[in-house]
């Protein structure tokens, strides 16, 4: 396996920001009420983590050691603001629902963690692979949690898809059960319970798998 593929695999699976490192849980819990909200935040976080990782890696020889954190935060804040503006311009209804959690991506330790531990020490290509892996890993966690919570809370999947994909997507809603069997799943306590069970299940499976290394925050 090439080193770039290893970087990607590690970022998605063994060092997944959500279930292995437990990073970025605030937006994960808050926004994963439906699959569409989760997809919106996943897209926004992906853009920020990939953009900032690539820019930090490109500028790594010019970023002074003493001022690296202000530089990282400046770059991450720029990409977060760009994402917020684009979302407000082209997906306004979704922006109104998830804007607060898009804006706090700037303080997301998952993104700052990858910038500090990986992007600032590696060339652009591996940094890009690491960012893609981190983004995909976070998106998998968000969408899985969003699907489970939406099913439990509303008995449906892809409700409000028109917010993200335009008016034609209004028909995409799959109403699998008439009413959600566990309405609590739509609220914060439900998010903690569902996420806790999901993370425990993943940890259980990964412990039985002989190839999976023990998760930890590795940089290089």
């Amino acid at each position: 396996m090439s080193s770039n593929t290893q970087v990607l695999r590690r970022a998605v699976l063994t060092q997944n920001p959500a279930w292995a490192q437990l990073l970025g849980l605030c937006p994960l819990m808050a926004v994963s009420t439906t699959v569409v909200n989760a997809l919106g935040l996943a897209a926004a976080s992906s853009f920020v983590v990939i953009g900032s990782n690539v820019m930090i890696s490109s500028l790594r020889h010019h970023i002074p050691e003493q001022a690296r954190l202000p530089c990282f935060v400046l770059i991450i804040a720029t990409f977060t603001t760009v994402t917020t503006l684009v979302l407000e311009a082209f997906s306004y209804e979704l922006y109104l629902k998830i804007a607060l959690f898009v804006q706090i991506i700037v303080t997301n330790c998952m993104i700052l963690g990858r910038a500090e531990a990986f992007a600032s020490r590696q060339p652009v290509i591996p940094a890009c692979f690491d960012a893609v892996g981190t983004a995909v890993g976070f998106a998998i966690a968000l969408i899985t949690l969003g699907s489970v919570r939406e099913l439990l809370a509303y008995g449906s999947l892809f409700r409000d898809a028109d917010l993200l994909f335009g008016q034609r997507a209004g028909q995409w809603t799959l109403q699998l059960v008439e009413t959600g069997p566990v309405p609590l799943a739509a609220y914060a306590p439900g998010a903690f319970i569902v996420a806790g069970l999901m993370f425990a299940m993943i940890q259980g499976i990964s412990r039985r798998h002989p190839d999976v290394k023990k998760p930890g925050i590795e940089g290089t």
């Binding site: 530089c71 400046l74 770059i75 684009v86 311009a89 306004y92």
Partner: protein, 173 residues
């Protein structure tokens, strides 16, 4: 830290700041027209929902006060809540001669009140403010404070009084 070290630290920081600023300016230029159109459409939808009829296309909805004193007026105002300014849009409907026949409906369009405690003023979260639709000046003046959010509810009561005064001044001119 010597001057040379300071220069070594701050020069890259300034250059990176410049790059980030340029990216932001470019994005702002590209998205500003769409954002403006989205905000206007949302404001117009809110006003039409309050008025329960379409607004004429040429209505300048950006004005602080607009409409007709003989029918209805929209007033935009702000008051100070617990955690910062509360921005309101109000619909005043003309009545006959006594203050009890005037009706005022309020909508909060921006606030920073505590979620779960003071955000009952947001019509998307609670019917508290919509239940007051078309209430008179006297009804707003006698509004009960909400337990746990006295400053917030008093701010709304103060804003209603302020709006009635604004309407009076506007219509006297």
């Amino acid at each position: 830290m010597s001057d040379i070290s300071l220069l070594k630290v701050f020069t890259p920081l300034l250059i990176i700041g410049g790059l980030c600023g340029a990216l932001l300016v470019m994005t702002d230029q590209l998205t500003a027209p769409d954002i403006q159109a989205n905000r206007e459409a949302r404001t117009r939808a809110l006003l039409e929902e309050m008025l329960q009829q379409s607004l004429p296309a040429q209505t300048e909805i950006d004005a602080d006060i607009f409409g007709s004193c003989s029918e209805w007026l929209f007033v935009r105002t702000q008051t100070t809540g617990y955690a910062g300014p509360i921005y309101l849009t109000a619909l005043w409907r003309a009545g006959l001669s006594s203050e009890d026949t005037e009706g005022l409906s309020l909508r909060v369009v921006g606030h920073q009140e505590t979620p779960g405690i003071g955000d009952f003023i947001d019509h998307a979260r609670s019917p508290w403010i919509t239940d007051l639709d078309n209430s008179s000046a006297r009804a707003y003046a006698q509004l009960d404070a909400v337990s746990g959010a006295t400053i917030t509810s008093n701010a709304i009561r103060r804003a209603a009084g302020q709006i009635f005064n604004q309407v009076e001044v506007f219509c006297e001119q």
